[in-house]
Symmetry: C2
Subunit: 493 residues, 2 copies
């Protein structure tokens, strides 16, 4: 893979000087076009040690307008980062539409270093690379231009560069112990790097490999490539009908048995039994959640369900049993402009709990395949690919040890109407009922279809859906409490 | 101060039951009115151990709509928090307009604990309390309703509560070793608490003290007080002309000598001398900034100045000398809606650098007393109080050990026109010139007045303004580089 990097890799000083002004102008122009077209760029500059990553990153910081870009380098994770899934810090750093995120090594730094120093084996590396491919595909599908560039040096070139840097007192500091060690490990490192590049050289995010020995050549080559890729992307946008880089066929929908209809809504429970059991389960949950807090196990509980199915009431019965200082209820309403400018999952990544804390989502990322699908806020291609994006996301959460529980609260249409009317008669609940609620009711069948597809496609081994028979509020609440306790118990054993 | 808390502090169960429904309805109503009026509430629930802080916080989480509130409890600071000024985490947590932030102990927890355990002396406690008073005043001036409630128990009541909690296996966990220890320290703790409350009982943010022994009484008393305070605040808003809770007289302006006119703009420097010196100072800055990185000293460099005074070019000469992975250039443009919904300083707190990192602000919080003042985007009362708010903010930064440098880049009006015209003739700079630039030029005299006031009022011992003679670009850039190196040198010695 690195063979091609050896070719035509020199540029004379005068040729460089001649090209710089034109390239700078075109880079600035490309950057402005990105802003206008609201296209985000993730630009990863990786490569071997001493290949000049810092130099080209510095160059880009000078040649581009710093107002529309941000440079990121990730060192040792902080304790807040360690308490979240590995990719959390990358997600939070993603550029909004129209901006450039410039990444030194990006998400490749950690797995490469872990592998070369033997902290992970080849299988773990491949799993991480597959994970990265999914992240990059998700970003590309969302309209982000993902650009990856590898600055290459042969072993001889690396040694010569190192010696040159060491000889100059102004640059000797750049050569750390690690570089010397890496020089010895060159063969091994380059094998792992090549494997990494091959595994992650995807149609959505291909690698450019540059021979970086000649500083003039690498700068011009990188700038030129950046301009070309941005132009190609923007020309495609101008020509296309919609904002999606490619329209995928909507995957065939679930047309089988109605999973919701199979749920027994006839369960009943009288008030005094309810109150006794409620006290029992809340007591249990209280103990379990304290244990989880001590063990720094965090949890995410998410609630979906029909309007008036009792999400709020159920959440309150759970939070009653917990210390209010340890949980957060995140209600999902209209996104802010900072959220709208990013991938739809970004706003959920923002609120992931620290170790030992609990986040309860009142509605969730499933809005993508529920309301956004039914109301047409998302294109079929967008909600169509959301199922697997969500599965990946939830796998990251559970892989990190987060206790993840998903509830669909089910009632039938008549019960919903009764509750709407009852709410209108309760003074402090009246504000909960709006015309929109009645409008949504009219789309019951579309929602049934969407819920069936959602449950079928996103009930995974690691994060199964729990369908709650909530026709009887008491029964539904206890069912959820029981399931939450059970999940905690299993996780803590 | 706690004597009054002993009076009429009991409520029978049936009286409680009778009042709850009405209170809940009125709380929800108050919350909706807050949202409509876009008034933020900071509600701090503090008190002695075992007084039921968790209980009333849990109650508020049930009675209010969780969609419009967030509960915060601060434990040991994380490493990211430790790398910023103490109040950083409080600032980031502040509720947007229309929402409620509910704080368990709020910013009082840390200084109280530090004092009771002897980690700080009385003088340090008083300094921290004065700091808190300034924070609360700043929030109140910005339209936030700051409510503080102290749940009190006499020593006898605390002992009885502790025993009751310990006797019940369901609640015994609530009694930690710390509580037992605090019981012994009651006299001492109550002395410190009373002092704290007295020092921070301000017109902007007075304390309510509740005897919390009877759970029914404390709940009703707190809910009632909350409703009353919110209503009073909103009635005041409805009656007032503007959004400010009170209009202050605009402080008298600087009318003395024109500080800018005193600056010698006749300095010149030829290109070859410039290039030699530039290399020298950049080399020096490179070494110093690496040292600072190793010592985890962070820095903030902020640049203000006339349009076309060379802020961008100067920033680039500085960043050229630094590792792009360690600095961030934050250009200050229009705020996002999340930023607009908070105090104007919030967006700057967001970007404070971690230990060893550098943030360069291209324009800054001084926009409040420059463009916002001149263009009338801020009321006289708003920009009038901003000088001391900014001084407080900068003191927090420098107290934390951050190297803070503020530059005003000065040119005269003719030079500005020449540069505008030159930009229009440079292809890749043309985008920098808009009609607005010419419009701003027309307000030169107003800006001179504003800059003079700014420099006079915010040049402090810990953060003096550096006025840069930038008529000659070379001279100005070197001057800034020299000052930056000097400041680094001083900080690192």
């Amino acid at each position: 893979m690195f063979e091609a990097a050896a070719l035509k890799s020199k540029l004379a000083r005068e040729d460089y000087d001649q090209q710089v002004d034109d390239l700078r102008m075109r880079l600035l122009d490309a950057q402005q076009r990105l802003d206008t077209a609201r296209v985000a760029v993730v630009l990863i500059v990786a490569g071997v040690d001493c290949a000049g990553k810092g130099d080209v990153i510095g160059m880009l910081n000078q040649w581009l307008d710093p107002r529309y870009m941000r440079t990121h380098a990730f060192g040792e994770p902080s304790d807040e980062e360690r308490e979240r899934p590995r990719h959390w810090r990358y997600w939070l750093s993603l550029p909004p539409r129209g901006r450039i995120g410039l990444y030194a090594m990006g998400w490749y730094g950690a797995p490469l270093a872990d592998r070369i120093h033997g902290r992970i084996g080849p299988a773990k590396l491949d799993a991480e690379l597959a994970h990265i491919n999914r992240l990059e595909k998700m970003l590309a599908d969302d309209g982000t231009l993902v650009l990856k560039c590898w600055l290459h040096l042969s072993q001889k070139q690396q040694r010569k560069t190192l010696e040159r840097l060491e000889a100059d007192p102004e640059t000797a500091w750049k050569v750390g112990k690690l570089d010397r060690k890496h020089l010895k490990l060159y063969g091994e490192f380059i094998g792992i790097a090549e494997h990494t590049l091959r595994q992650t050289d995807t149609p959505e995010a291909p690698w450019l490999i540059i021979n970086a020995y000649d500083p003039h050549y690498r700068r011009i080559a990188l700038a030129q490539w950046l301009i070309d890729r941005i132009s190609a992307r923007l020309d495609a946008v101008d020509g296309a009908a919609g904002p999606s880089p490619k329209i995928q066929a909507c995957p065939p929908d679930h047309r089988g048995r109605d999973i919701l209809a199979a749920l027994d809504l006839g369960q009943t429970l009288d008030k005094s039994t309810y109150q006794k059991r409620l006290a029992h389960w809340q007591g249990r949950l209280n103990r379990l959640s304290r244990q989880a807090r001590q063990q720094k196990r965090s949890a995410i509980l998410l609630f979906e369900g029909w309007d008036a199915a009792g999400k709020g009431g159920t959440i309150r019965r759970i939070t009653q049993a917990m210390d209010a200082r340890n949980y957060q209820v995140i209600p999902i309403a209209a996104p802010t402009d900072e959220e709208k400018a990013r991938h739809y999952l970004w706003r959920f990544w923002r609120h992931l709990p620290r170790g030992g804390k609990v986040t309860l989502y009142d509605r969730s990322w499933y809005g993508r395949v529920l309301v956004e699908r039914v109301e047409g806020f998302a294109e079929p291609a967008e909600w169509g690919r959301a199922y697997s994006e969500i599965n990946d996301f939830e796998e990251e959460l559970t892989d990190h040890g987060i206790i993840l529980l998903k509830f669909w609260l089910h009632i039938d249409r008549d019960e919903q109407l009764r509750r709407f009317q009852a709410r209108e008669n309760t003074v402090y609940k009246r504000y909960k009922i709006t015309e929109e609620d009645y409008r949504n009711r009219g789309k019951w069948a579309d929602y049934v279809e969407a819920v069936n597809a959602m449950v079928t496609r996103t009930s995974t081994e690691y994060a199964p859906w729990r369908l709650v028979s909530a026709q009887n509020k008491y029964y539904g609440r206890l069912q959820v409490l029981e399931w939450v306790c059970e999940a905690y118990q299993r996780a803590l054993d």
